[in-house]
């Protein structure tokens, strides 16, 4: 939660600076952010690939349920945002799916979508995926009560491996921490791939 705050402060500081200081918009800045984005993805990749839990979850064959969980979260999320996009004529289906494919990983999905689709979708991705994390933290007890112990893991999406893990452990129980970790790691790794596939199709 501490890092979410720093992230939001950085974004807000940018908004304020842009609002107060009339900087010229330069194309060079866009080029540099693409280089930095590539570097960022390399670092995130190293951190995912360097996590022993990630390779354990890739090798998970004995427990089919565990392997199915992130897949169902992907399908359910994309179906849910597709239904919502029917109510939002201003938002094309593809953009809605791309925002949903952030699975709560708001920092990465927002900078990716800013680069690929512009700042409007970047802001929607930031807000929507941040809300997914916050809603999971707030609703976890209700989700467990009405929809079972897997519900907050599904709702948490990619954040089930870090920021929402403590709350999941608290309300679903310690025995669900490994499942949550696996699902979160697999979804985290899936975010860049899925966003690219959705925007490329």
């Amino acid at each position: 939660m501490k890092s979410s705050l720093i992230i939001l402060v950085c974004f807000a500081a940018g908004v304020l600076t842009g609002w107060l200081v009339p900087l010229p918009r330069s194309r060079e800045l866009d080029d540099y952010t693409l280089y930095l984005l590539c570097a960022l993805l390399l670092f995130v990749g190293i951190s995912v690939g360097g996590d022993p839990h990630f390779w354990q979850s890739v090798r998970q064959r004995d427990n089919l349920h565990m392997a199915l969980l992130p897949l169902l979260v992907v399908l359910g999320t994309l179906f849910g945002v597709a239904v919502v996009s029917l109510l939002l004529p201003a938002l094309p289906l593809r953009d809605a799916l791309a925002v949903g494919a952030g699975f709560g990983y708001y920092s990465l999905s927002s900078v990716l979508l800013t680069q690929m689709r512009g700042e409007t979708l970047g802001v929607i991705a930031l807000l929507a995926n941040l809300m997914r994390e916050v809603a999971t933290l707030v609703l976890a007890p209700l989700l467990v009560r009405f929809f079972g112990k897997l519900a907050p893991i599904a709702s948490g999406g990619a954040t089930a491996m870090d920021s929402t893990l403590p709350i999941i452990v608290r309300f679903s129980g310690k025995e669900y921490s490994i499942v949550a970790l696996f699902s979160g790691i697999v979804l985290t790794a899936a975010v860049p791939f899925l966003i690219l596939i959705i925007l490329a199709v």
């Binding site: 940018g14 952010t33 990749g45 999320t77 945002v81």
Partner: protein, 90 residues
């Protein structure tokens, strides 16, 4: 844009090779955080410069909230299939 995913895939492989070097993995984590902070500052900057985006911030927030509701409802509903099937097994 596929170049971005290539970097990500290369990172995962590199991470696997480096996975016994905890300090390097932690360094990558910290570098990722610093680049994210910078990129979000730049995103904020372009939003702040874009008066139109600022004026529509409320609309964007509403769209985001609806997408979040759909994403959570859809994913929670989907994993019900797992709970149902495991209950039947017992």
């Amino acid at each position: 844009m596929w170049i971005i995913v290539l970097f990500f895939a290369a990172g995962i492989l590199l991470g696997r090779l480096l996975r016994t070097h905890a300090s390097l993995i932690r360094l990558a984590d910290q570098l990722a955080m610093v680049s994210i902070l910078f990129l979000l500052f730049v995103l904020g900057l372009s939003v702040g410069l874009n008066r139109e985006a600022l004026a529509h911030f409320g609309t964007l927030g509403l769209q985001a909230a609806m997408l979040t509701a759909g994403a959570i409802a859809g994913s929670v509903a989907a994993v019900q299939l797992l709970s149902l099937s495991s209950r039947r097994k017992r």
